[in-house]
């Protein structure tokens, strides 16, 4: 067993929203093939990318994700005929909105990973982790969560501590 994984100053939190039929299965394949990738990613399973609401991405960033991955079946492979086509449009538009608001889109990755592409899963997750690690923490939403309307602000140390706990 290795205990000498490279250490970094900052380890990003990556949240992945994936469909169960292709990408989740692809990630399973990466496991059964004993491929190795950074441990930063946390996977949330959905029946289909069509189920993934843009609000989830927003919520993930708000909850402290430094990078978000959305991944599903390749076009034409959707288990539910067209869920990924609907998702494709939804996210094409949503990422433009986030970009306009000022979110750096390098933190938000979309991919098609099939059940056979264990290797691609590893590549996508590794690339995003390395990229986001280099960018440093996603501070925007975290700072925003600390901000108060001036009239409600007291900024006591206790409160600060409580916020940090959240």
């Amino acid at each position: 067993m290795k205990h000498t994984a490279p250490t970094h100053d900052f380890e990003p939190k990556i949240i992945a929203f994936v469909c169960t039929w292709c990408t989740y299965a692809g990630a399973d394949l990466a496991g059964t093939s004993r491929m190795q990738y950074p441990s930063n990613v946390r996977v949330l399973k959905f029946p289909c990318t069509g189920r993934i609401d843009p609000v989830f991405i927003l919520k993930a960033f708000q909850q402290g994700a430094d990078g978000v991955l959305v991944s599903g079946c390749h076009p034409g492979d959707c288990h539910y005929i067209a869920g990924n086509f609907h998702a494709r449009r939804r996210f094409a538009v949503f990422r433009k909105l986030l970009e306009f608001i000022g979110v750096d889109l390098k933190r938000l990755q979309f991919s098609w990973v099939s059940a056979a592409e264990g290797g691609k899963w590893v590549e996508v997750v590794t690339d995003l982790t390395v990229k986001v690690r280099a960018m440093g923490p996603m501070t925007e939403f975290k700072e925003l969560a600390m901000e108060e309307q001036w009239s409600g602000a007291i900024n006591t140390p206790e409160l600060q501590e409580a916020y940090n706990a959240i």
């Binding site: 094409a92 538009v93 949503f94 306009f100 608001i101 000022g102 750096d104 991919s111 901000e147």
Partner: protein, 309 residues
């Protein structure tokens, strides 16, 4: 492009007012409609407010001026239950308002046959921070009017025969969008953070939007609390992102959200940016025809996926 403020000709509005009065009186008298939604003068000098009349004798109250800023389509949505639901309704619409009605028809909220559309040839209306009695000029005109492509509404049941004279104006949103797009993400974030920090969650933007017709807004649900309700910067930002996303491909730019925002947040800028993206991605422009499926309810197998690995 005029550098100084130039007056905009609104002389046709008095003839339009007369025509609206006559038409509303006729359709109410003949029983073609059960009510007419229009504008009436209000207490403050030069101001106007929405009015719903059901008696032909009240038709004389109807007006059209540059202070008739509201998009009355909101009164026909499910969020507004007070408007009589039985029978055909007459409604006074500017070109921008008509686009909202068109969208509502596509979303099964209205039926064309239930409406009697009184279209208004419109040269523009006043901006939100302007006193109602002010004259319409290139400075006082609402920003949305600078990008108007529907001065003359089409497909109405009645349109007074007037042609608005409209000067070429600097397209305020296009200019501002271009300016923001040229900034870095961090600069844009700073811009919106400042704007959203003012928000007090009065939801005027939502309540006045014809497309926010949900009986229960996602943001009013608490199991789960998808969006924080608290008017803190975090919840405010989330709300405005969700709002813009829900309007993407649907909003046709009546800009009511921006007009009514008591904190002057440029909300229509978000909507116009989304409209611009939908035009570029899917060649979609909202409000011109009743669509069976909106751009985010449909797809083609050739949609752009250059952003997907």
């Amino acid at each position: 492009m005029p550098l100084t403020s130039q007056p905009i000709d609104t002389s046709i509005y008095s003839a339009i007012t007369d025509a609206i009065k006559t038409e509303a009186e006729r359709i109410l008298t003949e029983g073609q409609v059960t009510a007419v939604v229009g504008y009436a003068a209000a207490r403050r000098k030069g101001s106007a407010q929405p009015i719903i009349i059901t008696e032909a004798t009240d038709a004389a109250k109807l007006i059209f001026t540059a202070a008739c800023v509201n998009n009355l389509a909101v009164y026909l949505t499910k969020a507004k239950k007070e408007v009589p639901k039985s029978g055909k309704i007459g409604i006074v619409v500017k070109g921008c308002d008509l686009k909202a009605l068109t969208g509502l028809m596509g979303e099964s909220q209205l039926k064309r046959e239930d409406l009697y559309l009184i279209g208004v040839p419109c040269a523009g209306v006043l901006g939100s921070t302007v006193q109602p009695a002010t004259g319409l000029t290139t400075d006082t005109i609402a920003p949305k009017c600078t990008e108007c492509d529907a001065h003359l509404p089409t497909g109405c049941d009645f349109v007074p025969l007037q042609t608005p004279v409209t000067p070429e104006l600097e397209q305020k949103y296009a200019t501002e969008i271009a300016r923001l797009e040229a900034l870095t993400p961090a600069e844009r974030w700073a811009y919106w953070k400042e704007q959203f920090s003012k928000c007090i969650k009065c939801y005027a933007c939502r309540q006045v939007c014809p497309f926010c017709f949900c009986e229960q807004c996602l943001c009013d649900r608490n199991k789960p609390q998808m969006v924080d309700t608290t008017p803190r910067p975090a919840g405010n930002t989330a709300w405005h992102i969700v709002r813009a996303m829900h309007l993407a491909g649907r909003c046709a730019g009546c800009a009511e959200c921006e007009r009514v925002c008591p904190m002057d947040i440029p909300l229509n800028l978000l909507n116009r940016k989304m409209a611009k993206e939908l035009k570029e991605l899917y060649d979609h422009e909202a409000g011109f025809e009743v669509l069976d499926k909106g751009p985010l309810n449909s797809y083609t197998d050739k949609d752009d996926q250059s952003f997907i690995k």
